[in-house]
């Protein structure tokens, strides 16, 4: 899994233990007519969905980098690879949320044993990288 802002490319040192399924959702509506029913569909899309990734514990250095992306508030490209098999699709995302708490190591951001606990990162998908 990777996030990049075009300058800094960051490979996640720890994959999230839980993540929203990357699955396009259908937009549709049903409305009763006087004697029948009308069905309107706008198809399925991932764009506009928010993907939530969560970690029970996250290395402080990883938090530092993700927090830098969060603070910069720039468009990012997300490679959602979860396994050794690279993802076939990358996404343009904006990090809308990054929350966590000090777990081990306190404020230290470099110490290998320093962690953030119950970290949650939300990525808004704004497009698919073609």
């Amino acid at each position: 899994m990777n996030l990049t802002d075009g300058v800094t490319s960051y490979d996640f040192t720890l994959l999230p233990h839980k993540m929203t399924m990357l699955r396009a959702k259908k937009t549709c509506a049903v409305k009763q007519t006087y004697t029948s029913v009308a069905y309107f569909s706008w198809g399925t899309s991932l764009v506009g969905e928010t993907i939530v990734l969560s970690w029970n514990a996250m290395p402080a250095a990883m938090w530092k980098q993700l927090d830098a992306f969060y603070a910069a508030d720039k468009a990012l490209v997300w490679d959602p690879t979860l396994t050794e098999i690279p993802a076939t699709t990358k996404y343009n995302v904006i990090m809308t949320e990054l929350e966590g708490e000090y777990l081990l190591g306190g404020y230290d951001e470099a110490l290998a044993t320093s962690y953030r606990g119950d970290a949650i990162m939300a990525l808004l998908i704004t497009g698919v990288v073609t």
Binding site: A29, T33, Y39, S41, W42, G43, E49, A75
Partner: protein, 1259 residues
């Protein structure tokens, strides 16, 4: 019914829909020539040398040099997001005191950006490089260094850089090798290490001729083009003839083909320089270059020029609108006949509109037939253009309302112009009988809407100067002239003459509270004078003459300008009176009264022919100098502009500048009239104080068997807009260029984009609503579109960093379509055209995402704002008349009008006067029972309003129906309609007698019998005129001689021209001619001289005694006769009464009843107000309209409203059948209103819909 694609049409029957909505934003006209937007509106610091590239990520990046700011320069690098919606800037400051020069950029092989620029310091020019990320960040460590240095005194051109197909880099620059001009290339594999310079093989060109401004183009094939400008020839005054050349290379410039010329300018008046190019497709290249011109010309041969000739007599600039208003009138011998007014757009140097005696509105032919429209005498301002006539009339053209108002100080009855200025001419005591004055000068102050008028009388015993103003906003018909300055008998007749007839000048300077009057001494020993009055008080503040100030020019000032306490003017050289050393330009310091002279440096003569003058900047002036040309003086330096110093400045090299001159501070341009009667060129010139006009121009190269190039055309609108850089992406061509406004250089940019799809910005959860409606009571059709967009901050027109801010700006054209996704394929209905009503509004509030709500209207709504003063007189069918109105007054292409043939089409006669276009169109349409709409794809169509139409769409069940409501909300109880009209033919009515005219005059002793023609005023017609003698001509002398005869003769019917009948009568006044008595009396005088005196004594003649003077007595008798004859003058005053003849048309009417409703209401008749239809001319016509009104009234009582699944077939004016939800009976509905709603829900919501709500008349 809208015709749909067959598959889309079938899909309208389905209950399962995949609706689509598309909104395209488009330009109303072609993008090129670009008008452009500033990259930075607020900076007053110069920006120049733009260069731009589209990055492989989709970002656009641009770089340019900014400075000096506090003596320092900065490279400003800007980049956009990958969607190219907004700019972000990063500054790279040069070291202190370095002077920045050219900048060039390229995308590097690794996606970073390479920058190369020049900077000079302490005599050394350095060419440097820097590598940054596309988002403007230095690499770590920073990569920057020097490529080469040389001496600033050495010639240098460029540099330019490009990435080659093999991912190496090529830099080109120009430098000299001894006497030879070379273009050198250097290559690099890493943008850091650059190989030694190698001269490009330009052996087919002359080695010693300059090659400059190199530019590189790397084609998709990998071939490289090197473009540059080449100095072909140098003229005797160092003027240069340059053309654009290129050399192609297929091996990265290791070898290259021979240089090929891309432009072919052959003389110095127009040349090409500074090329740039971009490949937009495999066989298409856009070439841009600066077209450098000596001047822009305009005369009567220019498209749109109204006058038959084009001498320029008066002119002014509407600075805010950048429009030039030119008055053209004869400037040679004879009457100074008025020709025309031309409105010239200074941005495009084209004529927007012209006015003359033959246009609508038109000037009175009096301005052609009589009096003089003098030069340099009528100063316009803003939207007001005055045309004066020395006989005492001013026609003021208001270009905003497109109206001409005559302000007449006297009657011009023969031209239908009555005195309408309320004023009293000043006169000297005892000379009240001499009141006539000459209209000498006019000055309009648009800020106060005042027109100042100077009138003069130069009669030696009754001289006068009277200056006052008229309020231009006064409604009329009479206008008050408020005196400001009145001088009677205090100014010499010579001076006053030198203030009229195109002599002298007047300036009304509101900010200085002054009226400055310059009077020339134009002949003999006449002296001139300069008088300065208080504008607010009217008192004389200063008076300059040689008698009081010997250093003042003997013959006064010809023209002058007020400049911050100084009066700077031109004058006639005078070798006598101790003034032989006063030459050139005169400056009067009004504070100290010190007068100084500045002599042009470009010649050593006595008479520099200086005449008209315009203030350029404070302390700077542009002045016409006759056959010398035009000169600029900045208080220290004189510069001369003519066909010698600026080759090609005047057509035919006919330097002759005695006409008005203006300086346009917005563009730093000089505008001068050139030539007069007999000149090789009579017309208008615009040229730059920089010597040449520069405008980015382009040509499109197309590859067939070789490259062919289209005719050149302006790439940008301005004439100080140059040095364009081009780049291309899939969305269109970008251009960045330098705009020069006065001394400030700024970067402008624009994009040639055919259309922008806004669909991706449409907000989910907010509906797109498109509605149209027919108002059957007025025949008006209307439509609108509303929607909301995300990224409101980028559509904010005040956000200069946004690249898409203009796409939802007021006036932008929108093409909107609904459609369906059917089997993965998108199908669309024909587009509907809209115009954005207002700039989108949004709120910036912390925590709120900025969205914009957009309202767009049908283009025909603009017809409501197009005023028609007077159309042509129509006698044609409604389809033809409406098409003509639209093409004439709304500039709509005839191909975009398809009105068909109307069922009840018939010829109508009418002329529209003082009406708005929409009202005119609807009046016609309503008469025939139609409405005019903006149909599919913008075609203007007619739709029949009828309750008897054939159904175009049939719904046999209610499977699509959401809701249905029978209603009659627009109805009333009217059950009778009356339509009136006037018949076509006139009948005459003779009215009660009234005073028709008055006549007064005098008959002298020898007048005798005389016939006076009395014209009835204001074009009135009278019958049976009767003479009332209020004061008879009869005097004692006439009575003694037999009496007078006064009678009226009504003989106008003797005229062959029947239009003159009853327009006048004649009064014959027959007073005795006393000439014989006079002769007799006079004869007696010498005759009696020989009769001696007799001495009489006792009644006998004797030799001594009382003398009897018989001769003397008879002489006395003769004198008495003569005196009585001379005193026999009679004054008469007659009144002519007559019966006015009025032509009227008979009124007819038709009545139609709704008998059913009348019965239902118990026989009560509820009539509507009588409706007058101007197109009806008979009772049958009225009956047809009455039947229509009845149909409308009855239809409104039976409306049907329903909401159903959207059916893209339907449009207003259709007739459909539906099924009543309860009775299942068929209802036929004429659709007057339709609203289609497209609501795509937010992700996770299910409140979407694609529906249609309609209303109409049921039957």
């Amino acid at each position: 019914m809208i015709t749909l694609d067959a598959i889309l049409a079938t899909a309208q029957d389905s209950q399962t829909r995949k609706p689509l909505c598309r909104i395209l934003s488009k330009e109303n006209a072609a993008s090129i020539p670009f008008d452009g937007a500033f990259l930075n509106n607020s900076s007053a610091i110069n920006e120049q040398h733009p260069t731009a590239v589209v990055h492989s990520t989709g970002r656009l990046f641009v770089a340019f040099m900014v400075g000096p700011s506090a003596g320092n320069y900065t490279i400003r690098y800007g980049y956009t997001d990958t969607d190219q919606t907004y700019y972000t800037y990063v500054d790279f400051a040069l070291s202190a005191a370095r002077v920045g020069g050219e900048v060039t950029v390229c995308e590097m092989a690794d996606g970073n950006v390479g920058l190369i620029w020049t900077e000079t310091y302490a005599g050394t020019r350095t060419i440097k490089y820097r590598t940054i990320t596309v988002t403007g960040t230095d690499l770590d460590p920073a990569v920057t260094g020097t490529i080469l240095t040389n001496n600033t005194t050495d010639f240098f051109a460029g540099p330019t850089v490009a990435k080659l197909a093999d991912d190496s880099y090529l830099m080109i620059y120009g430098a000299m090798d001894g006497a030879n001009y070379n273009l050198y290339y250097r290559t690099s594999a890493d943008f850091v290490t650059w190989a030694a310079a190698v001269a490009v093989d330009l052996s087919t060109l002359t080695a010693t001729k300059r090659k400059a401004n190199p530019a590189l183009l790397v084609l998709a094939t990998g071939d490289v083009w090197l473009l540059f400008d080449y100095l072909e020839a140098t003229g005797p005054n160092a003027e240069e003839l340059t053309n654009i050349y290129y050399v192609p290379s297929s091996d990265n410039m290791a070898t290259n083909a021979a240089a090929v010329a891309l432009t072919a300018y052959t003389d110095y008046a127009e040349v090409a320089e500074h090329p740039a190019a971009v490949q937009t497709a495999a066989g298409t290249i856009y070439l841009a270059f600066n077209r450098v011109m000596a001047s822009l010309h305009m005369d009567q041969s220019t498209t749109g020029w109204s006058g038959a000739s084009s001498p320029i007599s008066n002119m002014h600039i509407d600075v805010a609108a950048q429009k030039l208003y030119v008055v053209s009138s004869a400037m040679g011998a004879g009457n100074k006949t008025f020709y025309s007014i031309e409105k010239i757009d200074l941005a495009t140097w084209t004529i927007d509109k012209a006015w003359s005696t033959a246009t609508v509105p038109a000037f009175s032919s009096y301005f052609v037939d009589s009096g003089n429209t003098w030069w340099d005498s009528y100063h316009g301002d803003g939207v007001y253009v005055p045309v004066g006539n020395s006989n005492g009339i001013i026609a003021v053209l208001n270009t905003q309302s497109d109206t001409i108002t005559n302000y007449a100080f006297y009657d011009f009855a023969a031209y239908g112009i009555s005195k309408n200025v309320t004023w009293t001419p000043i006169t000297r005591a005892g000379w009240e009988h001499i009141t006539g004055m000459t209209l000498s000068k006019v000055w309009i102050d648009a800020a106060t809407n005042r027109m100042y008028v100077a009138l003069t009388r130069s009669y030696i015993y009754n001289t006068a100067l009277q200056i006052g103003y008229i309020d231009l906003t006064a409604a009329g018909p009479s206008y008050t002239f408020t005196n400001v300055v009145t001088e009677s008998g205090t100014i010499s007749e010579a001076e006053l003459y030198g203030f009229s007839s195109g002599n002298g000048f007047m300036e009304v300077n509101a900010s200085a509270d002054l009226i400055i009057v310059g009077m020339e001494g134009v002949a003999s020993t006449w002296v001139g004078g300069l008088r300065i009055y208080s504008l607010s008080a009217g008192g004389l503040w200063k008076c300059y003459k040689t008698s009081t100030n010997p250093t003042f020019p003997y013959r006064g000032l010809k023209r002058a300008v007020y400049d911050n306490g100084l009066i700077v003017g031109t004058f006639t050289y005078e070798p006598l009176y101790g003034q032989a050393d006063y030459r050139g330009l005169c400056t009067i310091d009004t504070a100290s009264d010190v007068i100084t002279y500045d002599r042009p440096s470009w010649a050593t003569v006595d008479n520099y022919q200086l005449k008209n003058i315009s203030l350029a900047e404070t302390g700077e002036y542009v002045i016409t100098a006759g056959t010398y040309g035009v000169t600029h003086f900045n208080g220290a330096t004189w510069t001369l502009y003519n066909s010698t110093t600026v080759t090609g400045l005047v057509p035919s090299s006919a330097d002759n500048f005695a006409n008005p001159i203006l300086y346009n501070s917005t563009t730093d341009m000089v505008i001068a009239g050139s030539g007069a009667g007999g000149s090789a060129f009579n017309g208008l010139l615009m040229f730059s104080l920089d010597g040449y006009i520069k405008q980015s121009t382009y040509s499109i190269g197309t590859y067939g068997t070789g490259w062919t190039w289209s005719a050149t055309a302006p790439l940008v609108e301005g004439f100080t807009d140059y040095d364009a850089a081009l780049c291309i992406d899939s969305g269109g061509l970008y251009a960045f260029w330098v705009n020069k406004a006065a001394a400030e250089l700024s970067i402008k940019w624009d994009k040639d984009v055919l259309s922008v799809n806004l669909s991706a910005y449409l907000l989910r959860g907010v509906p797109v609503e498109r509605s149209s409606t027919i108002d059957p009571t007025t025949g008006t059709w209307d439509a609108e579109l509303t929607f909301s967009c995300s990224h409101g901050h980028l559509f904010d027109t005040s956000n200069n960093l946004s690249l898409i801010r203009q796409y939802l700006a007021k006036g932008r054209k929108l093409e909107q379509s609904f459609g369906e996704n059917i089997g993965g394929v998108e199908y669309w209905e024909p587009a509907q055209i809209f115009t954005i009503s207002d700039d989108p509004e949004l709120d910036y509030r912390r925590g709120d995402y900025p969205v914009v709500r957009v309202a767009a209207e049908t283009p025909r709504r603009r017809w409501e704002q197009i005023h028609i003063i007077a159309s042509e007189y129509y006698n044609n069918t409604p389809e033809v008349i409406i098409a003509d109105l639209l093409t004439t007054h709304a500039n709509i292409d005839a191909d975009d009008i398809s009105l068909g043939t109307w069922a009840n089409s018939a010829t109508i006669e009418y002329q529209f006067v003082d009406v708005y276009l929409a009202d005119a169109i609807d009046m016609i349409a309503l008469h025939f029972g139609y409405a005019i709409r903006d149909g599919a794809n913008g075609t203007i169509e007619a739709v029949k309003i009828t309750d008897a139409g054939t159904a175009t769409r049939t719904y046999t069940d209610n499977t699509k129906l959401f809701k249905a409501t029978p209603r009659n909300k627009y109805s009333n109880f009217t059950n009778r309609w009356i339509v009136e009209c006037e018949e076509n033919t006139f009948i005459e009515l003779l009215m009660q007698e009234e005073l028709a005219a008055e006549l007064n005059a005098s008959h002298r002793w020898n007048t005798g019998k005389k016939t006076y023609r009395v014209q009835y005023p204001d074009g009135k017609v009278y019958r049976n005129p009767r003479l009332e003698v209020v004061d008879s001509v009869e005097s004692l002398g006439f009575k003694l001689a037999g009496g007078c005869d006064e009678k009226l003769e009504d003989n106008s019917h003797n005229e062959v021209d029947q239009s003159l009948w009853d327009t006048y009568c004649e009064v014959e006044v027959d007073s005795p001619d006393l000439t014989p008595y006079m002769i007799a009396g006079l004869a007696m005088l010498p005759a009696t001289a020989i009769i001696g005196d007799h001495v009489v004594v006792g009644g006998f003649v004797a030799s001594a005694g009382w003398t009897r003077p018989v001769g003397t007595l008879i002489t006395s008798l003769g004198i008495m006769v003569c005196l009585n004859v001379l005193a026999a003058t009679g004054n008469f005053y007659y009144r002519i009464h007559g019966q006015p003849v009025v032509k009227v048309r008979r009124t007819v009417q038709a009545v139609v009843d709704d008998l059913d409703l009348q019965t239902q209401m118990g026989g009560q008749i509820v009539p509507a107000s009588p409706y007058t239809d101007v197109f009806c001319s008979s009772m049958a016509d009225c009956q047809a309209v009455a039947n229509y009104l009845k149909m409308v009234g009855m239809g409104e009582r039976k409306r049907w409203e329903a909401e159903m699944v959207a059916d893209l077939h339907n449009e207003t004016g259709d007739t459909i059948t539906v099924v009543h939800p309860h009775s299942n009976q068929t209802i036929t509905v004429f659709l007057t209103d339709i609203k289609t709603t497209f609501l795509m829900p937010k992700i996770g919501d299910d409140d979407g819909i694609f529906s249609q709500t309609f209303e109409g008349w049921r039957r």
